[in-house]
């Protein structure tokens, strides 16, 4: 009797979860990751609706980057479910497959192809087939310069287009990475600390850019710059010790005592 009830409840819960998974673009449930016994993610659950932009905040070491690693296939979770578009189980796919599903990422530490020119970095990132065949004889060889320049102007690197990316300054590399993400034009963008090392003006510009992107894409953005997060004006999730501490509108979250305690400080 009770068993049946419990079963029933469990089934319902599962069904409800399924339902929420179905409609979501990104769905994390009970995801845990540990490194040598240290739990970086602890039963983390998070759902992102299509077209939604979500800001993630949280103390250093809360697991924000680790979460992105899990989504992009860099780190395999010990347990938990990670679904994309409600159907694709990301834990079964490798990085390239995930990227080809339409998940793009900007890394916390800017990573670009240092030996390639700025323009070629964008060229390689541009949307389109990525098979060896297309790269050899196919579409990849017919990318017009305009497409590249368009992106480069947007990230204000047009005058650097012919320079090796390795020569850029730290912040310029940040911009280049954002440019690559734009070029990739993925369904879901994961943006790890995009405005670190930017001036306030650039920060505003980036917020603008992200808002514009969010009209057509789903975005997860991690940042510590609260004025930037505020400028985004989206739902905020605060992680702490690998799980969600608070979630909601920015003014609600930033007024949360626990968030102030572990994150914002007094």
């Amino acid at each position: 009797m009770t068993d049946a009830l419990l079963d029933d409840a469990a089934q319902k819960e599962a069904a409800a979860r399924k339902a929420s998974a179905k409609g979501s673009v990104l769905y994390l449930d009970g995801v845990s990751v540990s490194f040598d016994g240290f739990r970086a993610l602890n039963e983390l659950s998070l759902v992102l609706a299509p077209g939604e932009m979500r800001a993630i905040i949280g103390p250093n070491g809360a697991g924000k980057t680790t979460m992105m690693d899990v989504i992009t296939g860099k780190t395999r979770p010990d347990e938990g479910e990670v679904l994309f578009d409600g159907t694709h189980d990301l834990t079964m796919l490798d990085e390239a497959e995930i990227a080809n599903l339409g998940i793009g990422r900007k890394f916390q530490k800017p990573t670009v192809f240092e030996f390639h020119t700025v323009a070629d970095n964008i060229r390689l990132a541009l949307k389109g087939p990525r098979t060896t065949r297309s790269a050899l004889f196919g579409a990849r060889n017919r990318i017009p310069d305009d497409a590249i320049d368009e992106v480069l102007s947007r990230v204000r690197l047009i005058e650097h287009r012919a320079r090796p990316a390795g020569d850029l300054s730290h912040g310029q590399k940040q911009w280049l990475e954002i440019g690559m993400l734009l070029a990739q034009d993925p369904k879901l963008l994961l943006v790890d600390e995009p405005v670190a090392g930017m001036t306030d003006a650039e920060t505003e510009d980036t917020a603008e850019l992200l808002r514009e992107i969010a009209t057509r894409h789903s975005v997860v953005v991690v940042e510590h710059d609260m004025s930037f997060v505020r400028a985004l004006g989206v739902k905020v999730t605060c992680l702490h010790e690998g799980s969600v501490l608070a979630e909601g509108r920015i003014d609600v979250v930033s007024a949360d005592e626990r968030v102030i305690e572990v994150y914002l400080g007094r």
Partner: protein, 231 residues
């Protein structure tokens, strides 16, 4: 005190600094501001000796140091918190901190307690490898590592990058505290304007490798500075 006098710096044929001058005095914070790619990091590299300058002089406590190696400058009391953290990835947190002992006489080789007061997370992670830390944790470690050297000139390149707000405040307090001890000169590169404004005794704004605005705290007009930082 540190005085940078009219220096040029090149990467190959490309010039990154043009006639830059700067002063940093003990008990004061000198802030360097500027957009991406204007030469802030290059200026700091010139000061700590990681890149040679092609013209001008750098004086530290009256002596010209532009010909000294980075290691000699470290011995002379100059410590760097680099952009991008540059943690020794395979050394543990404790070992990373202990690399700062190289400039200290044997009996002073210990990690000052104030490091852990300031960055309590590090205390719990002493045995973890530096490269495994989160970005913000690494940034904290980089600052702590420089403090272990007990420098006379502390050079910080965007130390708040990637750090959670509460700790940014702590770092601000720490810098203020170090300043207040009065024997340390601090050069701080910062994008985060408010943070810089609150700390700066002097400032210089760079644009395209040149100082376009500089002065003391008194002469620091927010409007002017912001305009120079605009895109």
């Amino acid at each position: 005190m540190l005085s940078v006098e009219d220096i040029d710096l090149h990467y190959g044929a490309a010039q990154a600094l043009r006639g830059v001058s700067l002063i940093a005095e003990p008990g004061q914070v000198t802030c360097v501001l500027g957009r991406n790619g204007v030469g802030k990091t290059s200026l700091l590299r010139a000061i700590v000796g990681q890149h040679p300058i092609s013209r001008g002089r750098i004086k530290w406590n009256g002596e010209e140091i532009q010909r000294l190696s980075a290691q000699q400058r470290a011995k002379a009391g100059i410590a760097l918190v680099p952009q991008g953290r540059e943690i020794f990835p395979l050394l543990t947190v404790k070992e990373n901190l202990e690399t700062g002992f190289a400039v200290l006489p044997r009996r002073e080789r210990e990690i000052p307690g104030e490091v852990f007061d300031l960055f309590p997370v590090l205390d719990g992670m002493l045995r973890r490898r530096g490269g495994d830390l989160s970005g913000g944790q690494q940034q904290q470690l980089a600052i702590a590592r420089a403090m272990v050297m007990r420098p006379k000139l502390l050079v910080l390149d965007e130390p708040t990058e990637g750090i959670q707000p509460s700790i940014i405040k702590d770092i601000g307090r720490a810098i203020a505290y170090l300043r207040s001890k009065g024997d340390m000169a601090i050069v701080l590169v910062e994008q985060y304007f408010e943070f810089a404004r609150d700390l700066a005794d002097r400032f210089a704004v760079l644009d395209r490798g040149q100082v376009v605005l500089s002065g003391t705290r008194a002469g620091m007009v927010e409007e002017d500075v912001r305009r120079k930082l605009a895109i």
